[in-house]
Symmetry: C2
Subunit: 344 residues, 2 copies
DNA sequence: AGGCAAAATGTGAAGGTTCACATGCCGCCC
DNA sequence: GGGCGGCATGTGAACCTTCACATTTTGCCT
């Protein structure tokens, strides 16, 4: 009968001591091998490694965390991951973390903070996470609160307020907004309406400010400003409100691609052609957007890169807490397709 | 100076002992309070609870796992979460787990198993997870391998092979496929082509089988079978191949909504009307699909429910390993919109 | 050859919790 | 009123690792 089977039949966990014994060394030597400590004789290391393999030994992370006062685990607090952007960030955050040897514990707060930040932190903090990354797309989350709870562990904000001085990485959505607005202006449009995202999203605000700044440069003020909740349905409704309002409008700046899809659908339902009667821009450049009818002019955001850079920044900070140097910006890119055309 | 600040300034962790001392009880009593043990005098419990609050004490999960041989953590192994369905599952799995008091450690294998199942398991297993849930959409993952590694912890499969006898939950995509096919047949279509998902996805296979079964009932065999990789771009290409082939085709069954979008785009590019010349169905019912042009007839899958039921099943199994009773099915729902019409 | 630094390895303690068991106390029954 | 069962609480050990330090071995210099 296998020695690893204790009485009762329940498999006993293979421990460092088992390996040590089998290899004829002390447990400390095994520990050193695991942790890549330099001063282990190559021969010994090989023997231990071999036994680890044979016995299928895996270090116990709980015991490790307890003894070492660190967990090789990072917390990611997220919200709105049902949307394209945050999701892309999350996937790439996790991947980058893994590559760097960290595990990720994810707390998703839900769209409307159904899960309180406090309870999420309670959970995460009890794991002694080595650092945290907050997808702070929504304004309600107080970063200060997070910092306090982390008691010293570094924190990075992603997709947060434009111009924040906290260690953070964002896509320069202001520049993206300016580019989209300027694009319409360059096409000769003067009567332009906006469909923003929800007010409590930093991104929605920054995009709007970018649009308005871009229009102001050309001496234009928006004909009308509506808002949606990022969904196609809300884009449809917002566009309908704009059409119902008695304002001339040949250009429409929309806060994301999904709402733009809804808006275009609403236009068509009223017999308006896109871009014949109204030019429409989106924001995000999701994979679907190039296949809309018409293919959507939009502002591409490199969400994966945002995730990667956020994690890179965090790992920098874990290595050297003094490495914090404010906000890092990732440039967006205007992608011109067929949903915009010269003003008739 | 705060007692919690040890020499050096680094904050010392508040432990059970601190609480015990402050409350004038033994550490064991504090432990009992935390674990809701019945035999603690209400008065004592209140005092301890109060001190926990005051000292901002949080049990250390590493120490807990170590001592209790369980972690209140569940592993979720996923792949393809860049797609709508798997992502929805994941979000709801996590949420259900949280509600049930578990944390979730996520290992995303990437679309093409860039991260090997083996290494993912290594990581997860080292946490002594109490159970695991595998989003087994892709065939390459060997569930047996997972089970072996878990050494006894229960495992649930989600979105896996139709008819698998392992504890699993899937959406009845076969029925969905039959419904979509029958819908086209009922509209009078006889010349029908298919655009499947990738062959290594169980869902792609099952949908195809459903379609073919539905068509066979009407004495029809598919005019042509193409495949894509779920993306709109691949749908566009697959549809182009079908148009290039010299076969008559008035109906198109597509494996998901994103590819259907691409396919419709390809049709239009060739001057074909949807549904005038060709009727198209999708699969999934993403939020965008109702706003496509034309709004897409599709098969709605309740991914959130899939996630929830998967987690419920897993928690059942953790409570009672004998509760395993094979595969559970969730019915899909045909959503008829404007992309399908009677055959001319 | 003697001695000394560096390399290689070992030892004891600590980390924060739970488990199994021991203790003290109360009320209750006959 | 002696004993007994249940509740409330406490004690010692165990979980598996890392850390700090002690010890042994090796290699090299003079």
């Amino acid at each position: 009968m296998d020695k690893a089977m204790a009485e009762g039949g329940r498999a006993r966990r293979v421990t460092m001591l088992d390996v040590a014994e089998a290899a004829g060394v002390s447990y400390q030597t095994v520990s050193r091998v695991i942790n890549h400590h330099p001063s282990v004789k190559p021969e010994t290391r090989a023997r231990v490694l071999d036994l680890i393999q044979q016995l299928n030994y895996r270090p116990d992370r709980a015991a490790r965390s307890l003894a070492a006062h660190r967990s090789w685990t990072l917390a990611v607090i997220s919200c709105g991951i049902e949307f394209y952007g945050p999701m892309q960030m999350l996937i790439n955050i996790e991947h980058s973390a893994r590559v760097a040897g960290y595990d990720v514990l994810n707390a998703n707060l839900g769209l409307h903070q159904e899960v309180s930040l406090h309870s999420a932190l309670d959970r995460l903090f009890s794991w002694r996470v080595d650092g945290a990354l907050l997808i702070a797309s929504v304004a309600a989350q107080s970063a200060e609160h997070v910092i306090e709870q982390l008691s010293g562990a570094p924190l990075i904000l992603i997709d947060t307020a434009y111009g924040s001085s906290a260690p953070s990485v964002i896509i320069d959505q202001h520049a993206g907004g300016v580019a989209a607005a300027r694009h319409l202006v360059d096409l000769g449009h003067r009567d332009i309406a906006l469909i923003c995202g929800p007010d409590d999203w930093y991104g929605a605000l920054t995009r709007r400010e970018g649009w308005i700044a871009g229009l102001r440069d050309a001496g234009i003020t928006p004909a009308l400003i509506e808002a949606g909740d990022w969904t196609p349905a809300s884009g449809y409704q917002a566009a309908t409100r704009i059409l119902d309002a008695d304002v001339r409008c040949t250009g429409l700046l929309v806060g994301n691609d999904a709402m733009a899809l809804g808006a275009i659908s609403a236009m068509k339902a009223r017999g308006l052609a896109v871009p014949g009667d109204v030019s429409v821009t989106g924001f995000d450049d999701m994979p679907e957007s190039a296949y809309f009818d018409p293919p959507l002019t939009t502002v591409a955001q490199d969400f994966p890169e945002l995730g990667r850079q956020g994690m890179a920044y965090l790992i920098d900070l874990i290595g050297d807490p003094e490495a914090a140097n404010g906000q890092r910006l990732i440039p967006p890119r205007l992608v011109v397709r067929a949903s915009t055309a010269a003003c008739a």
